[in-house]
Amino acid sequence: MEKIRLTQFAKHGGCAAKIGPDTLSKVLGRLPKFSDQDLIVGFETSDDAAVYRITDEIAAIQTLDFFTPVVDDPYTFGQVAATNALSDVYAMGGEPKIALNIVCFPENVDPDVLGEILRGGADKVREAGAVLVGGHSIQDDVPKYGLSVMGLVHPDRVYKNYGCRAGDVLILTKQLGSGIVNTAVKAQMASEAAEREAIRVMTSLNRKAKETAQKFTVHACTDVTGFGLLGHCSEIASASGAVIEIGAGDIAFMEGAKEYAEMGLIPGGAYRNQRHVQNLLDPGTLEEVYVDLLSDPQTSGGLLFAVPADEAERMLEALERADLGTKVSVVGKVKESGTDHPRICLREKVSIR
C-alpha cells in the first residue's frame, strides 16, 4: 500500500468539520417535532443520541457519527472515527451493541487504504465489546468514515445533558486540545510528542470512564466534541438553567496545545464555538489563549460529568485507578441551577469545596 496523507483530502477534519451550532439550531428549529411516549431523549435538548424505551428494563440508544480525515494514517483514522462514534453511546450511559460502517471513498484511491480505515474501526468496535455487521458505502471525492451505533441502557439510568444541580462538580475525562494540535500537525509545526498524545487521546474509548462513573451519582453527562468544552458546557447550562464556573487553571491540556494556540494554529470551529456561546459567556480576566483552548473543537473527546460535590473526590480517585490512559481534570462547578439566566463564567481557579 502506498503511503497516503489522508488529511490532504479534507478542508476541515474531524469534529472541526461539524456544521456550526448556530446554523444547526436554526435549521433544526424548522423541522417538525416528533413525540412518542417511549422516546426518552429526542433532539430538543441537543443531546448525543436518541433513547427509546423498549421495556421497563431496556432502552435502545441510537446514534451515528462520521467525519473527514483528522489524521494521515488510514488505520488510525478508522480508530479515531469509531472511538468518536461509540462515545455517543457512552455519553448516554449505555453499552454499545451493534455498529454499522458509514463510508465515503474516492474511486481512484488504493482500496487497501479503505481496508485499513475499516480495520481500525473494527478493532475499536471489538474493543468496545460490540459487533460490527456491515454498513453502507458510496463513492465520494473526500473520504469520510464513521459508525451508526445501537446500544442498550436501563431506562432509569440514562445520562442526559441536563439536570445538573447547584454545587455539582464538573469532571472531564480527557485532556483538551485535539483540534489545535491537529491543526499544528497539518501546518507541520507540531512536535512528534504532541501528535502522539493527540492520537492516543482520540483513540481512547470512553468505556472505562463510563463504567467507573456508573458507581456514582451522575446528574448530567455529555461527551466533549465539536462544540468544544465551552459549547458543550453551554448546552448543559441552557438545558439545566445553570450558572457554571470554569477554572481554566486546573484543566489538563495536551502537550503543545497552548503554544500552538498562541501561534494562531486554531481551527475555524473554535471561533464559531466562541460566537455561539458569547451571549452566555463571562470571560472575566482570563487570557485570550485560554478562551481559544476551551472552545477548541475536540475530536473524540472525553466525557464531562456533573456529580454531587460530596462524591467528586471519590469519583476522581476511582477514575485515576481505572487507568484511562488520559488525563482527568476538574473543570469547574455549578453555582446555580434552575435559573432563567444560564451563564458560563471563566475563572483562573474554582474551589470545588
Partner: protein, 224 residues
C-alpha cells in the same frame, strides 16, 4: 514591504505562509498578509504577535482582510537572540524551515545515539510458570504502547522471535508501536532456527552486528 497573498487559503496555510515570511524578513520591516476569512485574520494576528511584532488588522471587503505586521528593530533583535540561543531548536521563531519542524528526533551531539531500546529474548516474561510468563509478556508489550516516551527500537531474539510472527498475540500492539514510529527488528538466525522465517508478520529482519550496534548505542536498554 513583503506581501503575503493567502486569499483562498484554508487554515492553517495562512499562518504557515506568515511564519515563512517572518523568516524571510529576518530583521525589522513590514509584512502585509491578505486573507479572505475571519479565522485566518485572527490566526495570522496571533502568529505575528507571538513573534513579538506589532499587528494591525482591517477588513477591506466582505471577504477581504489585511493584516499589517510591523517588526521593530528591538523585536527583530530579540527574535534573533532567542533563535541563536536555541541553536538548532525546532520551530524557531523565524524558522526558515517550515517543513517538518520537530520531526527529526535524535541527539544533535551524538547522531548515532539511540534513546531507549527494548531487548526481548523470550516469548515469556520472568521465571516460573510458562503460562503466566506468556500472559506477562503480552501485557508488557501492551504497556509499552501506553508509554508517553516510546522506545526507539524493540529487538526480538531467541524465543522472542516467536512474538513477531503470525499467530502472535502481541501483533496488534506491535503494529500500533510501529505506526507510532518504533522500529521493530527480529533476529534472522533465530527465525531460521525455529523455522518461522516465512511467518514474520511485522518489522524487519536483523543480524548480530546490527543487534550489537543497537545495544551499544542505546542510552538505556529494557529487558523484560
Amino acid at each position: 514591504m513583503l506581501t503575503v497573498n493567502a486569499m483562498g487559503d484554508i487554515c492553517p496555510i495562512p499562518v504557515v505562509k506568515t511564519k515563512k515570511a517572518l523568516g524571510e524578513l529576518n530583521g525589522p520591516g513590514e509584512i502585509e498578509v491578505l486573507v479572505d476569512n475571519e479565522t485566518a485574520m485572527k490566526n495570522v494576528t496571533k502568529m505575528a504577535k507571538s513573534s513579538g511584532a506589532d499587528v494591525a488588522a482591517e477588513q477591506l471587503g466582505e471577504k477581504e482582510y489585511r493584516v499589517l505586521i510591523t517588526v521593530s528593530e528591538e523585536a527583530a533583535q530579540a527574535a534573533k537572540t532567542a533563535k541563536d540561543s536555541r541553536g538548532t531548536a525546532a520551530g524557531a521563531q523565524n524558522g526558515e524551515n517550515t517543513q517538518g519542524t520537530g520531526a527529526q528526533s535524535g541527539n544533535a551531539a551524538c547522531p548515532t545515539c539511540l534513546g531507549t531500546v527494548v531487548a526481548v529474548s523470550s516469548d515469556r516474561m520472568g521465571d516460573g510458570s510458562d503460562e503466566l510468563g506468556h500472559i506477562l509478556m503480552k501485557s508488557f508489550l501492551f504497556a509499552v504502547t501506553q508509554l508517553d516516551d516510546l522506545p526507539d527500537k524493540i529487538i526480538f531474539y531467541n524465543g522472542g522471535a516467536k512474538l513477531t510472527v503470525e499467530g502472535s498475540e502481541s501483533l496488534d500492539d506491535l503494529r500500533k508501536l510501529e505506526e507510532m514510529g518504533v522500529e521493530i527488528m527480529t533476529c534472522g538466525t533465530c527465525l531460521d532456527f525455529y523455522g518461522i522465517k516465512e511467518k514474520l508478520a511485522i518489522g524487519s529482519v536483523t543480524n548480530m552486528y546490527s543487534i550489537v550496534e543497537t545495544l551499544k548505542n542505546a542510552v538505556s536498554v529494557i529487558r523484560p
